[in-house]
């Protein structure tokens, strides 16, 4: 019996020392004990595919085509004078009129919901570099990112279409966000951008007495 116990304990110790414990980190891919039909020959987003030369499953959009349900490459596809009832005109999608002048004022409605939408998107895509107040003091500043402050006369006087164009296509060191933002998201950021500018450049006289009382000034 002693021999049995010795072998029994030895077997347990061996198994545990080889297999380890749950949750221990490992660089080895997970063991699929019963593979069933877990891995099928099926197209998956962003996956590898040996059929194509570049090894990619996701195919680049052929020029002149629009990905279904995705109008992010709208500008490259439609001509300047194209007007879509649902998506608006080129000015809406480009921030520029057909004669290349910038759209002066926001083509979207100024509503609280739109402003909140803009704040949400601003806090995702802009805040890291431009800072919560839009003064260019984002968390990335100590790491060497140079971001513009919104609070100078040049940017206060630029048209809304210009701001839209910079958000979408970038400027200087800033990369464009047209791959990640839809037109209405970018316009709502423009709206929030204006609110930020106003927040740092407003005078007490613009407030009603009631509002002043509320703020204690």
């Amino acid at each position: 019996m002693r021999i049995f116990f010795a072998i029994f304990i030895f077997a347990i110790v061996t198994v545990v020392s080889i297999l380890g414990f749950r949750g221990s980190l490992s660089t080895k891919p997970p063991l699929e004990v019963f593979p069933d039909m877990d891995r099928q020959a099926r197209y998956k987003p962003q996956a590898e595919n040996s059929f194509f030369d570049d090894g990619r499953n996701d195919r680049p959009i052929p020029s002149g085509a629009v990905a279904r349900g995705n109008y992010l490459n709208y500008n490259e596809v439609f001509s300047e004078d194209f007007v879509d009832l649902r998506l608006g005109d080129v000015a809406y999608n480009k921030g520029k009129h057909a004669d290349d002048t910038f759209v002066q004022t926001l083509p979207t409605e100024v509503t609280y919901a739109n402003m909140e939408h803009g704040r949400l998107k601003y806090e995702i895509f802009c805040v890291s570099c431009h800072g919560a107040a839009g003064d260019g003091n984002g968390v990335t500043k100590p790491y060497g990112v140079l971001a513009a402050s919104y609070h100078d006369d040049r940017l206060r006087n630029e048209s809304d279409g210009y701001i839209y164009d910079v958000i979408m296509n970038g400027k200087g060191l800033m990369y464009g966000l047209s791959d990640r933002l839809s037109a209405d998201e970018a316009w709502s950021i423009v709206l929030y951008f204006r609110a930020l500018q106003f927040s740092q450049n407003a005078s007490v006289e613009e407030l009603t007495p009631a509002q002043r009382d509320l703020l204690g000034i």
């Binding site: 029994f8 997970p30 004990v33 039909m37 962003q46 895509f125 890291s128 570099c129 990369y175």
Partner: protein, 217 residues
């Protein structure tokens, strides 16, 4: 007549029973402990082509999940960002760091960075990211505290039991929509919040399927 069997033979049945029970217990315990995704999947932490630290980017710098994984709230697939997203900062930050050489090469050549996928559902499981995050199920429920991981590892088992646990009791996991991307958020243990959570499930018509075809196709 002398005894045919010596006396110690009397103990054999007991010994065999004890040994059988021990072996059976050990085998069952071993299977229960090891033959589960809690062991096979959890802890998988492959070496990535670039030593990207979520602890730095998401934890310390508090960059929103959606800055890079932009499509998580609009698509079933939560995308790995394009190299251009990395370069929007790293064209300025650490622009000559040898650790980032694969990123610069990828940006110059257009070849994707071969990130290693960690979380894989079986191919007959159709998980939709957008419907979960847009209805108050946080990233952290399935991915763990990625914002504290220097190297991302598989943190939750993602087994069918794991999915059903939440599909049966969504009110215990649902959270306010503005806290979905805040992995740090702690669920208040108050009766009041429980009611709010039940309210979310009701108001947003959260009706997680428990039938096979809800997820399997």
């Amino acid at each position: 007549m002398a005894n045919v069997f010596p006396k110690w033979v009397n103990t054999i049945p007991i010994k065999v029973i004890v040994a059988a029970i021990l072996i059976k217990t050990a085998v069952i315990a071993g299977f229960t402990y090891y033959f589960t995704p809690k062991y096979t999947r959890v802890g998988y932490a492959p070496t990535q082509p670039v030593a990207f630290s979520h602890a730095l980017h998401s934890g310390q710098l508090e960059i929103d999940c959606r800055y890079c994984h932009t499509n998580v709230d609009r698509s079933e697939h939560s995308n790995v960002p394009a190299t251009e997203v990395c370069m929007s900062c790293h064209s300025m930050v650490r622009k000559d760091d040898p650790l980032l050489a694969p990123v610069r090469d990828s940006y110059a050549s257009g070849e994707p960075i071969p990130w290693v996928r960690i979380h894989k559902t079986p191919d007959y499981v159709y998980f939709n990211h957008a419907v979960h995050v847009n209805r108050g199920i946080s990233c952290v429920e399935c991915h763990g505290r990625v914002d504290q991981m220097k190297v991302v590892h598989h943190d939750k088992p993602l087994s069918m039991g794991f999915c059903l646990e939440c599909h049966r009791n969504p009110e215990e996991y649902i959270r306010p929509p503005e806290e979905v991307y805040n992995l740090d958020w702690e669920r208040p243990e108050t009766e009041e919040f429980k009611e709010t959570a039940v309210g979310f499930v009701h108001d947003w018509k959260v009706n997680p399927p428990q039938s096979c075809s809800g997820c399997h196709r």
